[in-house]
Each structure stands twice: as C-alpha cells, then as structure tokens.
Symmetry: C2
DNA sequence: CGTATATCGATATATCTTTATCGATATAAT
DNA sequence: ATTATATCGATAAAGATATATCGATATACG
C-alpha cells in the first residue's frame, strides 16, 4: 500500500466510496467494479479505479474488487479502525452540536472534551462530555496525547485559540471559523468554511437566474 | 464584471479575502495591494490578483485596490446584498444549530423554516423559526419562492429528501449528509461532508506519525 | 476450445489551477 | 527631471487533476 502522495481530492472521495459500498448487500454483492461505483456516484470510472488503486489491493479484470475487502481496506486507510482523540474549543451552538453528534466515532474520531472561555458553560456537560475552562487546555491535551483540535469559536477569537492549540501540541486543526489561520509549517488546517460553501451555492443561483432572464429578455 | 466561468476555487477564496479586508481599519487603510492580502492569507500574490480581477474593477499599479470599493464589489458578487431564502430539512442537533446560527444573514442567506418527519419536533420553534411537517414542504417552497434547501437528515434518508426538494422547485442543495446525491443536471449540490474533512485530517496525522517513526527507527 | 465481453492497470492526452515572468504605470525620492 | 520601486495586468510555464485510449486478462457462452 502506497499511502504517500495521495491527493487531497482522492482522500475526500474515499468516504463516498465507503458509504456506497456499505449500502450493498453483503451476501449477494460479493464483488463490485469501478464502473458500477462510478455510475452510482456520478464519477468517471477511470477516476474511481485510480483512487482505489492508491488505497487497496489489486482488482481483477472482468470481476472488479471483493466488496468486503475493499471496505476494510478503505476503512483502514482512513484510520477508522484507529481512533484519534480530539478536543473542541468553543461550546456555543455549533460546538455543542458537534459534541452531540455520534457519527464521528464511526469515522475514527473521538471527541473527549470541550473548552470555552464563558464561565456560564464551563462545568456543564453535553452528551456526557465535560466543558472545561481554557486554562486547562494545554495540560489535558498533553496528558491525553491529543492531536486534533476543533475550532468553533467566533472568527475574531479563532487565531488566538489556534495559537493555544498549537502550543498545546495539537498537529491538525479543523477550523469552523470563517477566517484564515496562520500556523507553523508542520500543522495542518482543514477549513470547514460555511461562507465558502454558500458562495458556491449563491453563485450557481445567480447564474441560473441570469440565464433565465436572458432567455426571456 | 465578468462573472461567468469563475472557478469554484476562486469562489471559495473570496470570503477569505472579504474577511481579511474587513479587519482593516477603514480610516487608515484606504488602499490595499494583492501582495499584502496574499501575505496575510498565505497565498500566492498572482493568485490573489487573478481572483480579484474576476470580481472587481481595476487596481492601480503601485497603489493596489481601494479597500472599501473592493469590499463592496466582493459582497455584491457573492450576493450578500441580495439575500436568498432557504429551508432546512432535518431538525436534529445539526439542523437546530444551523437554524440558530445568526451569521448566515451576513452571507445573504435567510433560513425561513425547517421541516422534519418526527412528530415530536414538528410544531416547535428554534430561534423563532417554525418546524413544519414534511407534507408542507412543497407548498411553502413554491409559495415563498425558495431556491435553497439544506439537508441535515441522516444519510439513509438524504436521497429521498433531496428528491422532495427538487420536486419543490429547489435549485441548489447544501448537503450535510455523508452521501452522494443524484440530481437532475440543472440542480447544484454542495457537499459539506465532515467525513471527507476528517479523512484529510487523519491522513495528515498518520503521515506525521510514520515520518516520526522513521526518524527514530 | 475459441470467441465475445467486462474489466483491469498503464500510458497518453486534455483540462484546470497555480505559479513565474515581463513590460507598463503610478508614485516617491533624489 | 530622472531614477528607483511597488504594483498592476497579461502571458507563459509548471504542476495537478481528470478523462480517454489501449493492451492484457479473467470469465461466460456458444
């Protein structure tokens, strides 16, 4: 398995493959071809084949891939069988929603606690997970060897929180605040920027509308 | 302004530019250069210049762009001054968190209501927004000319919900369910797939760890 | 047993995205 | 006024990603 130099795009498609494969019946669908997967997910078949090649053992001509093997290999590749612990900074609505979401366990993510500067939420719990004051962040991260930090604070505090996380030994940051974060080279920031997604949506709409207008006018 | 054929990547960077520009002092920072923006956001200056060129009026050599003008032009381009209405399908934890998030208004998104199949939440309110039964979806969307649908239901229901949205006249879908959605050609699906983001994060970590192991071993 | 077909992997081509380079221009400094 | 410099826009080069093509191979069918 060559897991170096896999592209971000491929990485992001793998969960879609996995989701599709899991909808297939274990008993009847013993094998599955790249062609079939591609059709189900509206992708190019060569793309699917290439993506799978970078993750899994050989497929067989005319047959495809052994479904259950493929599932295991993708899951292993994505680390679903080797959970990482994470902390959430910011126990507002979004932070609490993420704390309460049980799906993350399935994806190999184990959120162990949240932190917040607001004294009113510190000390409370959400989904059985405690909310600590910011002062405890570094100690807890180091003690529990936590490497993932999730930022769900308002934009104006995000960089400061980010710096604290880096100082606490965090190596990867999942940033829900709509700002750019500056970090040392070895730290990864994955932005979940709702504003960016909305930009794509609303541009699509305005283009549709201007097309309509042109047809009519 | 040529807003056709702008790339998705450019579109997704625009909100970052905007956020940065808004942190600048209105009085003292009358103009700003692509170089400055690029440095602040860790981007290539040519990329920034090209992105801005596709959105805004001319910059001036040696000077750059007029900050306030640039802000207005990006906001207008992204439709922040021309709000679109949206509905949320799925009033679970995530759906409610999104209903409660006030930041969307700033981005030109106005969530007017939520829908859910669960009778226990139907009839309740969140952040002053009502939760309706699924049976009311089509009527409300048509009556209020709603074109954006946000899907926050579990994966297994997502495609069915998606079909209902399309039937209700929705043109763009923001999908938080971790599955691929099949839609007619003219409909846009923007996936906010947490599993994909996590895949990127956890791969970065496992790579870091294997690098470390190699150094030691 | 030979032929047709679905599929694979590999290689080649096309497209899209990012980065580098270069001449032009507006301001500041000498 | 001349020169230096920061910046622009445009064009070119490089790099990444997606798609098409082709020979090889495993099965099914006649």
């Amino acid at each position: 398995m060559i897991d170096q130099g896999i592209s971000k795009q491929t990485l992001q498609r793998l969960p879609f493959y996995l989701g599709y494969l899991k909808t297939l019946d274990k008993v009847t669908v013993e094998t599955v071809s790249a062609t079939t997967i591609a059709e189900a997910l509206n992708l190019n078949q060569v793309q699917v084949r290439k993506d799978l090649a970078s993750v899994c053992s050989l497929g067989r001509p005319k047959i495809g891939y052994v479904t259950q093997e493929l599932i295991c290999e993708i899951e292993h590749f994505l680390g679903y069988d080797n959970a990482e612990s994470a902390v959430i900074i910011g126990a507002g609505k979004l932070g609490k929603a993420l704390l309460g979401y049980r799906g993350f366990e399935e994806y190999g993510l184990n959120i162990v606690a949240a932190f917040d500067a607001d004294e009113n939420v510190v000390g409370t719990e959400e989904n059985g997970k405690k909310i600590f004051p910011m002062s405890k962040l570094k100690n807890l991260c180091e003690r529990m060897k936590i490497h993932i930090g999730i930022i769900t604070v308002p934009a104006e505090y995000a960089q400061r929180v980010c710096d604290s996380l880096v100082e606490s030994g965090i190596l990867a940051i999942w940033n829900f605040a709509p700002v750019h974060l500056t970090v040392p080279e070895h730290i990864l920031v994955q932005n979940e920027n709702m504003a960016s997604s909305l930009a794509v949506l609303s541009k699509h709409l305005s283009q549709k509308f201007s097309e309509e207008a042109q047809k009519i006018g």
